[in-house]
């Protein structure tokens, strides 16, 4: 019934494609800053700037890996400052400061910007496309259980994003997550830990890679939860529009 009025909407609330759903919704800029600090790129992923986020993420991963920054962090936090100085490689180290601060600053800026667009989109209340079908796949708005998204992301980083229609991000999270797991020897360490062989678990892990795991895992879980909640809210908004446009006939005979 509802015709696409794309050209008329100046500030759309959302855009649905066969591989993602982009939504303007309010996000706390400081939480965004936190995620950028935890891992440059995650703040942008959270805002829906997927490619930008992946770009920052890969940049930080490579620089960190080359400079052995994570290793130096572990040595510093455990009081072994001499070793920290010894493992650091200086070729790219200073560039890290730039990447980090730029990612933090830029994600804060974009967060404020998208919040403004979100307010304008809610005010304009333009028609929302509830589904799309194409040769690459099909996407449609429906209710998601946020805790199910959390559970999937705990099992496989990125699976919660897949559940919430974020195909590009899910692809990145899965490839990234599996790479980090593989190079850090995280899963063998889990295996040994559960068997009670703690010394072996410590011996098997690659510490430089292992320090990527916490932020990566937690972000994958957090992001899946938020995505599910926001998809649900978008669904509600679209269905309310559908009701107003189709089932509020002026000829309806009121009982009183």
């Amino acid at each position: 019934m509802q015709q696409s009025q794309a050209s008329v909407i100046r500030r759309p609330k959302s855009a649905i494609s066969t591989y993602s759903v982009a939504i303007f919704h309010l996000r706390n800029p400081f939480v965004t800053v936190w995620w950028s600090l935890a891992y440059p790129g995650f703040g942008h992923l959270r805002l829906g700037s997927t490619i930008k986020g992946v770009f920052f993420f890969v940049g930080e991963l490579l620089i960190n890996l080359h400079a052995k920054l994570n290793l130096a962090i572990i040595y510093s936090f455990t009081g072994n400052f001499a070793m920290a100085k010894q493992v650091l490689r200086l070729d790219l180290l200073l560039l890290y400061c730039g990447i980090l601060t730029f990612a933090v600053w830029d994600s804060y800026r974009v967060a404020l910007e998208t919040n403004k667009f979100s307010v304008l989109a809610d005010h304009e209340n333009g028609p929302i496309d509830p589904m799309i079908m194409g040769s690459a796949g099909l996407n449609s708005l429906d209710k998601r259980n946020p805790w199910l998204a959390v559970a999937w992301s705990i099992l496989i980083p990125g699976a919660g994003q897949l559940y919430c229609l974020a195909l590009v991000e899910a692809f990145f999270m899965m490839i990234g997550g599996i790479s980090i797991m593989y190079f850090s020897h995280f899963l063998p360490a889990v295996h040994y830990t559960f068997l009670g062989q703690f010394a072996q678990a410590k011996a098997v892990v690659d510490w430089q890679w292992l320090l990527n795991i916490p932020s990566f895992y937690c972000f994958s879980i957090y992001d899946a939860y938020v995505k599910a909640v926001e998809l649900n809210k978008l669904f509600d908004q679209e269905q309310a529009q559908f009701m107003r446009n189709n089932y509020q006939s002026t000829t309806f005979k009121m009982p009183i």
Partner: protein, 154 residues
């Protein structure tokens, strides 16, 4: 006769309407009243509690991640290794963050009732002939109506 029913926003609601229309009820005999949901106002900076509905998760996720990193780091020297120390950090940090969030939300917004999942979000009013009432009523119940009322016509 009038039927009034409450629903959640979900696909079943649309199917309910479609099925009711198949029973011979015209579009003009159906009135849909979508409710605005409490607590979704437009305030750019106080977004945690009102707008994005994740206030119970932000604090936990932030503190959980931070404590997990520390757990993995100190697992380097502690006897139980990085996995258990990391997990302990995650669970401990998440709980503390979650409780802090809960406390501040209660404290700052005690007057604002939190959204309850059982609340109705959408009302349908259907005008039909007396002999159609039973069928329409059954259709509404079959498609997850939260409550249905029948009202005689004046």
């Amino acid at each position: 006769m009038y039927l009034i029913a409450s629903f959640h926003y979900c696909l079943h609601t649309e199917i309910a309407i479609a099925k009711v229309e198949e029973l011979g009820i015209k579009k003009e005999q159906i009135l849909g009243v979508p409710l605005e949901i409490r607590g979704e106002n437009r305030n750019i900076f106080d977004t945690i509690h009102h707008a994005d509905g994740v206030s119970m998760f932000d604090g936990g996720a932030i503190l959980g991640t931070a404590s997990m990193v520390l757990g993995v780091i100190y697992g380097f020297v502690l006897p139980w290794g990085p996995i258990i120390c990391g997990l302990a950090g995650l669970v401990g940090g998440f709980l503390i963050g979650f409780l802090l969030d809960l406390f501040f939300t209660r404290f700052k917004h005690s007057k604002q009732r939190r959204r309850d999942d059982k609340d109705a979000e959408l009302f349908l009013m259907i005008q039909c002939e007396p002999q159609q009432v039973d069928q329409v009523k059954k259709t509404l119940w079959d498609h997850l109506a939260l409550g249905v009322a029948v009202l005689p016509e004046n």
